[in-house]
Symmetry: C2
Subunit: 502 residues, 2 copies
Amino acid sequence: MEKKLQELKTRLLEINDLNNAAALLSWDQSTYMPPGGAEARGRQMATLGKLAQEKMVDPAVGKLLDELRPYEEGLPYDSDDASLIRVARRTFEQAVNIPPSFVAEFTNHNALSYQAWTEARPANDFNRVRPMLEKTLDYSRQMAEYFPGYGHIADPLINFTDYGMKASDVSAIFAQLRKELVPIVKAITSQEPADDSCLRQFYPQDKQLEFGLKVIKKYGYDFNRGRQDLTHHPFMTKFSLGDIRITTRVHETDLGDALFSTLHESGHAMYEMGINMAYEGTPLANGTSSGVHESQSRLWENIVGRSRGFWDHFYPDLQATFPDQLGKVSLDTFYRAINGVRKSLIRTDADEVTYNLHVMLRFDLEMQMLDGSLSIRDLPEAWQERYENDLGIAAPDNRDGVLQDVHWYAFTIGGVFQGYTLGNILSGLYYQAALKAHPEIPAEINHGKFDTLHNWLRTNLYQHGSKFTAAELTERVTGGPLRIEPYIQYLKTKYGELYKLD
Amino acid sequence: MEKKLQELKTRLLEINDLNNAAALLSWDQSTYMPPGGAEARGRQMATLGKLAQEKMVDPAVGKLLDELRPYEEGLPYDSDDASLIRVARRTFEQAVNIPPSFVAEFTNHNALSYQAWTEARPANDFNRVRPMLEKTLDYSRQMAEYFPGYGHIADPLINFTDYGMKASDVSAIFAQLRKELVPIVKAITSQEPADDSCLRQFYPQDKQLEFGLKVIKKYGYDFNRGRQDLTHHPFMTKFSLGDIRITTRVHETDLGDALFSTLHESGHAMYEMGINMAYEGTPLANGTSSGVHESQSRLWENIVGRSRGFWDHFYPDLQATFPDQLGKVSLDTFYRAINGVRKSLIRTDADEVTYNLHVMLRFDLEMQMLDGSLSIRDLPEAWQERYENDLGIAAPDNRDGVLQDVHWYAFTIGGVFQGYTLGNILSGLYYQAALKAHPEIPAEINHGKFDTLHNWLRTNLYQHGSKFTAAELTERVTGGPLRIEPYIQYLKTKYGELYKLD
């Protein structure tokens, strides 16, 4: 049995290495690759993806998993070996339904589509990517069709990222959340918006980057196992548990963009960096779901990084970094500026309160595209309509409309956006649990110390990697299922105070 | 037959993609990878290497090559299809003798050894890498043993890089060359050395890099298909015919290091960039040998980039870039400085005349290590002895002695160094042929124009990729075999003038 487990691990390691090599090819495509490399790069990533897929669906893997079942069942559910076999089986079952040739085609398509998007967005040219996006929708639907028996066609896609959630679950939670959020947004946006002109001054790129790096070093991001580079769209990527990188972008007339995206991506990265090193090269060495991942990026970006206590500590340092820009701006003004709530166009720039409206709108459009009630041709208009309806504003062009996010141009349509709002909800839930265990956390943050919080997260969430599903983790940490109340309570307390709501 | 050829191409493309992905992993290891990534990176490159090797030695490839033989024999020798099959067969036959598990082990060892070298060299700590180097020698000998029937144990290793050359051929040519070089070196170094203090001033990194990039842009290095990054040791690497990168290093108190390494690597890169794009993804899409490759790096670095005519054009621009450092330095002084001949310690810094003494010394040490007459333990001392003997100087430490070059710490021992001097010889031979066809080339270089030379090289050498062996190319271009006379003539003319020799 020992030998069979070793054989399974060896096979999974090879698959892991192929996938991590593909991840590096993708990182390079977004950071340093010259344009001439695009065509071959798409093909190369497709080749690696196809080989990994072929090796994953090898019947020998299925046979090993079957043979290991009695061994697994004799072990405690949360033992490393049982968990590895269980998660490998889940991955195998998800993979075995998708033909390798489909994976190769789709991967190749995604690379070309991404490249086209990097050109179409600055050119505000939706038509340039429209035929590609139509193919992406076909591919996404086809992908779901490989998993018959779903309730909604999005369910199999959501299963890839937030295993165990169904479109109907998501819709129900989003309905609850929308009901709570709408009155808060309404109450805040009926007031005069916060003055955030202090953030719109000229902030040189190098100093912005330096300050962001200083903060995440204090958070505990390990630069011995990571680095930051510049890309169009910030992301975190991992090539092993020893090499977990983040990227950002800088707007020299917007202090918040690089800083908060850095804090955000560092949260993703610290989750992965906290995984038990013994899991390196196994399917356990990944964050467990899109929602849990996003809970950590949002926790470090917002709950910590936009809190009053955090800036009590860091603002003098920020002022010293930018004396001309912030020397005469009070902490109160700055704190209100970075927490300004407004009806805005760009999801990644949106404040904590309206952010979920951006996400839920995308989720709804995805559901409609997938179930056939919305065509790609009509997508730009539907996008605009939903923005006017949900946020009361319309983008002047597609650049800041339907072209704003990379996701649909580089991945599937469906299965991605829900994780952002699930993550927000979970960030509130987990932070509440951390405070219950360690009421001293806010005082520590106030002194620029993050060890107690980071250690609690590592112990209770990060170290487990994919051992537990999101639902299991949540149950372990909070004693109950996913619920929105702590997140809503967090928003009400913070923004009630800021905007003097009842 | 059409179908069988297509199947062969598909299989070779997959192998090519795996190898190119491994090349990117290696580039990243040398440029941007955080230290924590080293261990997994070694494993990942080993996995890719092993998969590529497995796919190369698949009996189905051998069967296809056999089945395609009649088709190949019915085609002209220099047709694309016949050449592709011929070169694929050569690669297959070289690969099929080496067990995939050996390749994986060796690749993994090389990654760890390279990482150790990057730490051992600055620490001047040969003992840190000695056990690894001993393993490298074992691996190198084992590699050769997979090809029994050799004359010298180095022959199979030389075949990988300079196909068709034997250790005895190389030794014979090197003996001729040494006989010619020794009196030249003696005559020059008996004179007062050229004053190169103008190069040893402070030259800021960014301006150095900028100037180098400006020159290679004029050469015709295509930045749409390439870029330059910083590494410990300069190199050229290729991920496809659309993505051919170079690296350099900068010493701010040595103007020559980054500049001439940039010109050097651009020569390697332009060779690859000039390959017929129709060969992308096939075994034809590579330079044909180490010697031919080096002939191009040395041609662009030395014959062009250190010529009087080149600097007639570029020196005013260099002076304008560094007015404080060079404003009052005459072109004559500068030209003598960059062509100073001296007995020196560092191969990559060595002048054209002594350079080959550095290489031939390494070649001899390799031959001795491989045939067992020199142990790794005795290598540092043997290195010092040879330097004292051949160049009349000794390194103060191992950092600038046996630890100076990356090669033994990242590749095989044997099969690499000979290419450098073969390249020098070929650079003279090919440049003479270019001048015969286009006597206007020196006048064009004098005006900062390189099109005629670059086009001639593209047409006569670059476009063919690996279609012809080095010997075949040389025969096509010069009507005869490799000979040292044009190179010696070039050195005698240039340095005769500079040092007023008879």
